[in-house]
Symmetry: C2
Subunit: 374 residues, 2 copies
């Protein structure tokens, strides 16, 4: 395993948050609500949705008001704190409290199948309420505190990912990214966009970004472009099918994407289209990086073939923001994710280190230092 | 060069049009107008635009009311017949007639830079008026007849391309196509979709199609889906970024696309995104075919690097059918075509034969049998 130059300094996970000022608040965990920036309304409107129950949060995960694997995990942790509050206020005893939390955990787990950070966050919260032997009120407060910790930890992890990732690029690099693995996909700062933000800070602004628009949901054109605009980072939006053209012309120095689940062997599920980018990168000798916290690593899954791929409503393909594009009655397919084989990945940038092949070993070692999903 | 089984029968170019009934009329060349199906309105509305002058046609080529390399060539031929008519009716002498046609030819040549069939059709018409030594009236009628011949020839060429291409696929094949190289991109029947139509006829309907939606103009989702629906051919629309997923899972038996210009060495310019498909095909050992009439072959261009790539308005990327997707002020890029190197092409299906590498030889030989652009 090669160590990034950053590892010689104070470990980023232990450093105070860097010079970066968080300008985007994706998920706020209040005692009585989880507040989400509405990612369906961006970039036209910046508005916030207040979820008063875990069911509200589950619905907002399902309809993608909140999306991005780490952000979903954080929102689910907040939702379980809300479920605990509801159980306390409804006045049942400990059995009712446990039953309510189990129901909420099961309901939240079903919202999206591919991102494993959801499973991870639920397991973190479950461990806590199962070993809490205090009164329900106290257990609720413990859960609320843990949810807020998961939120804050997520930001620190993103800072660390950024610090480890930036040295992989030179000043002035043109970096291509897909979907949104940014502040909006996490509690803040972002994974892939964390690396790009960190490059922007490290190189005094000398970085530019190709933003894949990312059909059908346009997370790139809507969300990543919005984030980069907020930060003042130079970017160009392109249709997904233009990436190959710019890569083949030598205009792309590297690719960095997020991840929804990383298998024990390094195979990575991420937004549909990621796999194609990895093939183009290999064809042209361009480095292809995955940036993700260790909670995205699922040691229980041996390889990519075992990762469930969510098929979403084909109407999201036949329609474009609500208006029909195809002829009436057109058939469409909509796999929301694809799997990039580990052989196509130059490195996995985590909050504990930059991991290189052989990934099975590197991931096992990294998981000893951090919190993976098992 | 391997010969397709079809070459043992009557040569398709000499055969009467096959059992296929043309259900779509893309370009109609009348004495007093060129009538175009409005490809901006499809699939929601099937309506027709009547162009009374060559300038109207030029504007409709530029704004993509008519698009597709062969269809543009046919429309331009019709436009030059209109220019001749206008010159005759304005009553000038032979010098005025020639000047009017030269002006129209220059204006039409500037509408779209990548598709070479436009250049080819203009050259065909120019050769005719330059050697016409009759009165302007007679020369006009000769030009009108030639434009109609170019129209009808284009359909016959598509039939031949279909007949040569279909045997490259087995019954039941799942074929992926990009953009629209169909009846709407030609005078009728189509090149890549001509091959698919021919498979549909040959195999009693046992063929299915993955239709790349083809951002930003959505020629796949709008036009190819509409054509396949009209023909009753089974298809699924997918986002461009999903192709790699289905190819990697073995769900695609072959890829067939059209071409806007084929260089002397076989490098092929086609709709943006084509290059990426060729890389995916190579990665997975899936055949990748280009289907185009010889008028698409430009022997004057040695290789793909010399083909001009049209950059269109970035607003076509930042907006979706008129409504803004990206944040206000977002920067975007919009190359409308890319180049697929000849090494990634399994065969070029033309109206005279299925051409295989080495393409420089195969194309030179084919051009002896047909009409290439030089």
């Amino acid at each position: 395993m090669r160590r990034s130059p950053a590892s010689a300094r104070t470990h980023p996970l232990n450093a105070d948050s860097p010079q970066h000022k968080l300008r985007i608040e994706t998920v706020e965990i209040r005692a009585d609500a989880v507040v989400l920036i509405d990612q369906l309304a961006l970039p036209a409107d910046e508005r916030y949705v207040t979820c008063a129950t875990w069911r509200d949060v589950a619905e907002r995960i399902r309809d993608m008001t909140v999306r991005g694997a780490p952000a979903i995990g954080v929102a689910a942790a907040g939702a379980l704190a809300l479920a605990a509050r509801e159980a306390v206020f409804s006045g049942g005893g400990r059995a009712a409290f446990d039953a309510a939390l189990s129901e909420a955990a099961a309901g939240l787990a079903q919202t999206r199948p591919t991102a494993v950070n959801l499973t991870w966050a639920i397991a973190e919260m479950r461990a806590l309420w199962q070993r809490c032997d205090a009164a329900p009120d106290e257990c609720w407060l413990t859960l609320l505190a843990r949810a807020r910790e998961i939120h804050d930890d997520d930001i620190r992890r993103c800072y660390a990912i950024g610090a480890f990732g930036a040295p992989l690029f030179a000043a002035g690099a043109a970096i291509l990214t897909h979907c949104n693995a940014g502040a909006l996909a996490t509690a803040g700062y972002g994974t892939a966009l964390g690396v790009i933000r960190s490059c922007h800070e490290r190189y005094g602004g000398a970085v530019s970004v190709f933003v894949d628009e990312t059909r059908p949901w346009l997370q790139g054109a809507r969300l990543t472009a919005w984030e980069l605009g907020v930060e003042g980072i130079e970017y160009s939006v392109i249709s997904d099918n233009m990436a190959g053209h710019f890569i083949s012309r030598g205009e792309v120095d590297g690719i960095v994407v997020g991840a929804d689940r990383i298998a024990a062997n390094g195979d990575t599920a991420n937004k549909i289209g990621t796999y194609t980018l990895s093939v183009l990168a290999k064809e042209h000798g361009v480095p292809f990086y995955v940036a993700a916290p260790l909670s995205t690593v699922d040691l229980a899954v041996a390889g990519g073939a075992d990762i469930p791929i969510e098929e979403r409503d084909p109407a999201e393909v036949t329609h474009f923001r609500g208006s029909r594009v195809t002829p009436a009655g057109a058939h469409a397919r909509h796999p929301a994710f694809d799997v990039t084989p580990q052989a196509n990945i130059s490195a996995i940038i985590t909050e504990v280190d930059v991991l290189r092949a052989p990934y099975d070993q590197a991931l096992r070692l990294a998981c000893l230092k951090g919190e993976c999903t098992t």
